[in-house]
Symmetry: C2
């Protein structure tokens, strides 16, 4: 099995890009990633591209060859769609292709444009990640779905809105120094608590924003990095994926996300590590409660224990296990089809030492990313490690 390295990373600023096209955004991230890697475009053997709602937001399907063209690539190009885990799956398949020896260089990433629709239309478009027949038709949208999960969590394990507010406060604090973040500003627990209710117990500051943006990664084999003298200190040592029933009513628990547990077990197993080895994590906090569920699925906390993690200062910048130093989806933003790639970009920067928050984890060598689709009917987990 060939070793896989992250050779280069690229992001656009996350936020509102009403004047730009999707191809323009993705090209920016892709060109940055290839430049960062020092890999010429002719060496790229495949493009794995994630996008979720382009058919609705831009009336553009068949985006993979379009994005290849925009990035100046002539290789086979494939689109992956797994709701908010689209780029996570695209990256995972890139890792698998290189590991198997079938390719040496793959560009993976994703893009989403969301702000060109009205907020109502975006909420409706996002809802297609849920079960249309059994959830969406009954009026369910994602704030409501995650509110159900939060209520179930509170009832099963305890916890309250203030615990969740601390997650938001933590992630906003982390985003301040991140030049790519949509919201580079701190918030207070009071602001979070007093923000308008969206779907009780979730309020506005429990939810991630609507975001345009793109992410890109150049993955290479260790052999390629060596022969081409590419500086790529971060290795992808584990990748896992899990699925679950799409509709919440078909699950055994509303306060647990077994798809992510399965993905994490697979990734840890490949990496030959356990949760105790993880020093830093980027997890899918589309809502504050989602970060709590992620930490438990990743085995970083026992069920019922992660709710107080931010409040107790364990997952904050000065805690023992900093989570979402990028600002997370909550403050950095969540262009859904790009997010899974963006998490790997941020973790790579953190581990390489060139992230604005790298000084928070100067000695970290092992980190994980956790990317979820819908109400975690899909989940992708990656383990990254600084190679020796």
């Amino acid at each position: 099995m060939n070793g896989v390295r992250v050779a280069g990373v690229g992001l656009t600023k996350f936020g509102r890009h009403s004047e730009r096209t999707g191809r323009d955004l993705f090209a920016e991230a892709a060109l940055h990633a290839m430049e960062d890697a020092g890999v010429p475009r002719d060496d790229v053997e495949g493009l794995n591209y994630g996008n979720f709602m382009g058919a609705l937001a831009e009336h553009q399907g068949h985006q993979a060859p379009l994005m290849a063209e925009a990035a100046g690539l002539t290789c086979p190009a494939t689109r992956y769609e797994e709701a908010c885990a689209s780029a996570g799956v695209a990256a995972r398949e890139a890792v698998k292709s290189i590991r198997s020896g079938e390719a040496d260089v793959i560009l993976a990433g994703g893009m989403e444009r969301m702000t060109n629709l009205s907020t109502a239309a975006t909420t409706e478009a996002l809802a297609i990640a849920a079960d249309e027949l059994f959830e969406v038709r009954q009026g369910m949208t994602f704030p409501g779905a995650y509110a159900l999960m939060a209520r179930a969590y509170f009832e099963t394990f305890g916890g309250d809105r203030e615990d969740l507010a601390h997650v938001a406060v933590k992630n906003h604090a982390n985003a301040v120094s991140n030049e790519y973040a949509q919201y580079q500003r701190e918030i207070t627990v009071e602001e979070a608590m007093e923000s308008v209710p969206v779907a009780e117990p979730l309020h506005l500051f429990d939810a991630c924003p609507i975001t345009d943006g793109a992410s890109a990664l150049v993955f290479v084999s260790e052999a390629y990095a060596e022969t081409h003298d590419i500086d790529a200190p971060v290795a992808v040592v584990g990748t896992g994926q899990g699925s679950d029933n799409l509709a919440l009513h078909d699950r055994e628990h509303l306060a647990q996300t077994p798809a992510a547990t399965r993905a994490a077990e697979m990734a840890y197993d490949e990496a030959g590590i356990g949760p105790d080895d993880v020093e830093v994590a980027e997890v899918h906090d589309c809502f504050t409660i989602a970060e709590v569920l992620a930490l438990e699925s990743l085995g970083l906390y026992e069920p019922g224990e992660a709710i107080g993690a931010a409040r107790r200062g364990e997952t904050t910048r000065d805690g023992r296990l900093p989570v979402n130093l990028s600002g997370g989806l909550k403050a950095k933003g969540h262009p859904v089809g790009a997010t899974g790639g963006s998490q790997i970009v941020e973790l790579t920067r953190l581990l390489r030492g060139d992230h604005p928050n790298s000084d928070v984890v100067p000695d970290a060598r092992v980190g994980v990313t956790h990317n979820a689709g819908g109400t975690v009917a899909s989940a992708v987990v990656h383990v990254l490690e600084v190679a020796e």
Copy 2:
């Protein structure tokens, strides 16, 4: 590199299924494929699922976990979208996964529901496979795009509408005995010539219909087939994929499809064969001209030579190289996200000897499938061979 076999195949009847859901259609095909294979569902390690326009036709994204659930699977499930080549790409990635030793059993296929929209809405939905910014906004839809390609072909190489009519007549004749075909009836050259113009030079009988349907394949490693005593005589010995610029105006030629040429070269190379070895082919005839372009890209004819192939009786049932014995997209139907899988199903049945048209090619041992996205901005080619 592990050998890959087609262990089981499944299809729904292609046509109008207004009373059924997408999950219901896919489950039917998937359950048939698993039953045909004799592979228990718990052995399936991944679902690779193709769908193109579910966001528009069913307001359902994130279909992969939904389809896994419908088929009774709990493995990781991933959606591939590559316009009309969605299932082709899904199948190709399944083959790669097994070949690399990463999995022994993958279920691949696709589903599309199209007839629940009006014809105008379907045409508009299909158009998202073209370049929204530079083609669709100017009013281009696919009949128009392929009409441009047909005109360019006629001007460059010669040929006329009657040549194309013979392609339609041939494919309809092949569909008569295919129990899964949407149109099990013959047409005449006169009928085709006199059908209403859609976009000159293409008339109604040059175009494939609008179709609901699903396809599924169980791919297994040779080792798995052996240890589990699975009868799987057909091997996938080559797979290739190519991309091109999405918009027609960005191409060098309108009358050639180099993405498919690249895909074919890759697949032949892997299979260790050349075009002369091909005995039977299932190609992407979304319009009659597309079959002509496919045969040339596959190297089965020189550029400019395939236009008369059906008329000369070379690609007909009694010709030297029968093409689209299933009826093709033209007469069997074209549920876009399922088509690439359906072609492999049909070729497998032909080579195994259990297709209603197997008696047309009783000694055939090598066949190819050719699946295209949009105006062939994407293409996937597979080479299948009866293993000894």
